[in-house]
């Protein structure tokens, strides 16, 4: 029996800021002080507040230490673990109010969250099947196998209103039912963990923090649709997720929770891991299955849908990681308790990877129907440096943006679709007034051009042409006619592409053109970038009234574009200038340099 548990985040974010070293040092120091029998160190999955990592929680006090460094460990061990004096300077700012230490759940970041898919992330040791079982793990599978018929399981999932969390929002229960109804000698369950959107990392966090819940959910799905084999397709760039998932599968096999005759029900289920090489198109279901089969990851036309002819030509159900993460909870607590959360047509919660110009970057899980304002201003802690909120980008390269005027939109599938946006897998990138919307659209198009698999012409050639026009716009070389062409191409590509990648690739352009047309016009007509991002359209200028002739800017300039001797006004030669902004940084005190 340990009197104290120290939980250290072992997610990718915190691992990259040396949480492994912290754990090692912590264990050494604890052993040195003779506390090894009293204090247990546990490596967990992601706590969500990645901006403040590495994160450490000490129980029973529940102290939330943030931005912990290896050098801080001796103090934590000596003061807190040995003597019981909380190291206040390391506490997460918000948990320290005047004199008392607030509970984590009362901080603004966690207060409005409802952690369902992430319920075990940052709570249990993901490498221990016992800890997962302690928090009702595998109870849902046991319930299904011993008391429910496969059709009952499907009915529960249908009643819960769960919809696919990978982006499309297709009702999960229906998907299962379609596959269940197709007779075949072999069927498959596939988990899509090929999270490819730039900025999205919720699937990774679930696999890293709670891999057993995916194992359990896939077995439940297998039972419901009549499949005995399952595949998790996870990208190889997620090494921690892969190793924890493989360990989880091994442990489940040892405990007889996978394999033959689980819970004496005669049900058999085996799980395999397949690594993806990181092609964005492999997140598309038919391309993903083609890749599992060992072929080049390219999509194929649908129908036939995977429920009829999927992996290896057999009926297959494919769901996203986060969709599966909800399943055990729905089975355990009933469809009603899940359906009680969210909006009329979008039930439950959604995990978002919050990034961009926001104070608390990290992972948040909110009930459907939470407004964008609550996410940004309350949970996210607002925009840093007193800047103004301009727009939020959702759905990555397939999605659109929500402008500041629609900040009170309730986030759910249908509301986002209505404004020409998309839930997507859950990347939420916050942008402030310094972000150029044309540049954002160009960035995402650049990504899709790279990632287009090349199988169909609209996507392969069309996106390339769109990117060329966008480049012209950001360089100030476009005409108004180009804007019309851009829009026409966008609709054409949407209508005619083979798979989801091409069908959604124009979305970032269409959405920014819809809400920020004036910015496009400014680039085309006035040859100006209002946000001061597009380099070809801006010049640096030294105000002769403010310049004190200190020579700092001239010394900082890497191309010698600034002329002037000490104590005289300096001038920038705009022909030589490469617009790197070094002069503006150098002139921080006097502020004589500005963008025009």
């Amino acid at each position: 029996m340990y009197r104290s548990h120290v939980l250290v985040c072992g997610g990718t974010g915190c691992t990259s800021s040396h949480s492994e070293d912290i754990i090692k040092t912590l264990e050494e120091q604890i052993a040195e002080k003779g506390l090894a029998d009293e204090i247990k160190v546990i490596k967990t999955g992601c706590f969500g507040l990645c901006a403040k990592g590495p994160i450490m929680i000490v129980y029973p006090e529940g102290c939330f230490y943030s931005e912990v460094k290896v050098d801080d460990i001796p103090e934590i061990v000596e003061e807190h673990l040995l003597k019981g004096r909380i190291v206040k300077r390391l506490l997460f700012d918000e948990t320290v109010s005047t004199d008392t230490v607030k509970s984590l759940n009362q901080t603004a970041f966690y207060k409005k969250q409802k952690r369902l898919a992430l319920r075990n992330c940052g709570v249990i040791n993901p490498e221990s099947i016992e800890e997962y079982i302690a928090l009702d793990g595998y109870q849902a599978l046991a319930k299904c196998l011993t008391t429910l018929k496969p059709t009952d399981v499907i009915q529960i999932i249908k009643d819960s209103g769960l919809r696919g969390r990978g982006g499309g929002g297709f009702p999960t229960g229906l998907k299962w039912e379609f596959t269940a109804k197709n007779d075949a000698d072999q069927k498959y369950v596939v988990c899509n963990a090929d999270e490819g959107d730039p900025g999205a990392f919720m699937d990774r966090s679930v696999l890293e923090g709670d891999p057993h819940c995916i194992v359990e959910a896939m077995a439940i799905c297998g039972y419901a649709i009549g499949a005995t084999e399952g595949y998790v397709y996870v990208r190889a760039e997620y090494p921690i997720a892969v190793s924890r998932l493989e360990l989880a599968i091994k442990q489940a096999n040892e405990q007889g929770l996978l394999g033959k005759n689980i819970f004496n029900s005669g049900f058999e289920f085996n799980l395999h891991v397949r690594l993806g090489a990181g092609a964005f198109v492999c997140g598309e279901e038919t391309a993903l299955m083609t890749s599992i089969e060992g072929n080049r990851g390219e999509p194929r036309p649908r129908p036939p849908y995977p429920a009829v002819k999927g992996l290896f030509g057999k009926p297959t159900t494919e769901n996203n990681v986060e969709t599966f993460a909800n399943v055990p909870q729905i089975i355990l607590h009933g469809a009603e308790s899940f359906a009680a959360m969210g909006t009329e047509r979008s039930k439950g919660t959604k995990v978002f990877a919050l990034g961009g110009k926001i104070k608390n970057t990290g992972l948040v899980e909110i009930p459907m129907g939470t407004t964008l304002r609550e996410i940004i201003e309350e949970i996210g802690g607002g925009i840093p440096n007193g800047k103004k909120f301009k727009a939020a980008q959702t759905g990555g390269p397939s999605g659109g943006c929500i402008p500041a005027s629609l900040i009170d939109t309730q986030i759910d599938y249908d509301n986002l679709t209505a404004i020409g946006c998309m839930m997507g897998s859950g990347g939420l990138i916050v942008m402030d007034e310094d972000t150029c919307m044309v540049d954002i659209a160009r960035y995402f198009l650049d990504f899709t051009v790279d990632e287009s698999c090349g199988k169909c012409a609209p996507c392969r050639i069309g996106t390339k042409r769109m990117l060329e026009i966008l480049n012209k716009i950001t360089q100030g070389k476009a005409s108004l006619e180009d804007l019309d062409k851009l829009q026409e191409l966008a609709f054409y590509i949407k209508e005619n592409s083979l798979c989801g990648l091409g069908q959604t690739a124009p979305n970032p352009v269409l959405a920014t053109m819809k809400f920020f047309k004036d910015e496009y016009i400014a680039h085309v007509v006035d040859k100006k970038c209002p946000a001061g991002v597009c380099k070809a359209l801006l010049n640096y200028y030294i105000d002769p009234k403010k310049c004190i002739g200190c020579t700092l800017c001239a010394r900082a300039c890497p191309v010698g574009a600034i002329a002037g001797s000490p104590k005289t006004v300096h001038v920038i030669d705009t022909k030589k200038c490469i617009k790197c902004g070094a002069c503006m940084d150098a002139c921080k005190k006097v502020k004589a340099v500005s963008k025009v």
């Binding site: 009197r3 029973p60 040995l82 003597k83 016992e130 079982i133 007889g256 005759n261």
Partner: protein, 123 residues
């Protein structure tokens, strides 16, 4: 795994090892003063005594934690018992031998061991 009973057995065993992580206001909290003065006076065996005794009796409604100097160094080791809706009880000059009695009489049956409290000792 053949039966739910097997699964439940693992669950109960693993759960008992995780109670320390519960964030529950309804728990009875046993707080041991573990500043330099407390440790010097022998607070560590007292703390471990509570942890072991509570684990042995499988009491899952009690959280044992430590705190810094309570301020009455001459009475160390000091242990405080805080229960929601009740007045705080402070035991002083604690030893490991006194632990079992406090657990059985106070924590289990709700009868404060008056003779160990600060009121009795300080007279």
């Amino acid at each position: 795994m053949k039966t739910i009973e097997e699964l439940n057995a693992i669950r109960e065993k693993a759960k008992a090892n995780m109670t320390v992580r519960e964030d529950n206001e309804d728990l009875i909290r046993v707080i041991v003063g573990m500043a330099t003065c407390g440790i010097a006076a022998g607070a560590r065996p007292v703390l471990n005594g509570f942890v072991d005794e509570i684990a042995r009796r499988k009491l899952n409604n009690i959280a044992v934690s430590q705190t810094g100097c309570i301020g009455m160094c001459q009475y160390e080791p000091i242990v405080e018992v805080i229960e929601k809706g009740k007045e705080k009880v402070t035991y002083v000059k604690m030893t490991a031998d006194k632990v079992a009695r406090i657990v059985s009489e106070h924590l289990v049956n709700g009868n404060v061991v008056t003779e160990y409290t600060v009121g009795a000792v300080a007279k």
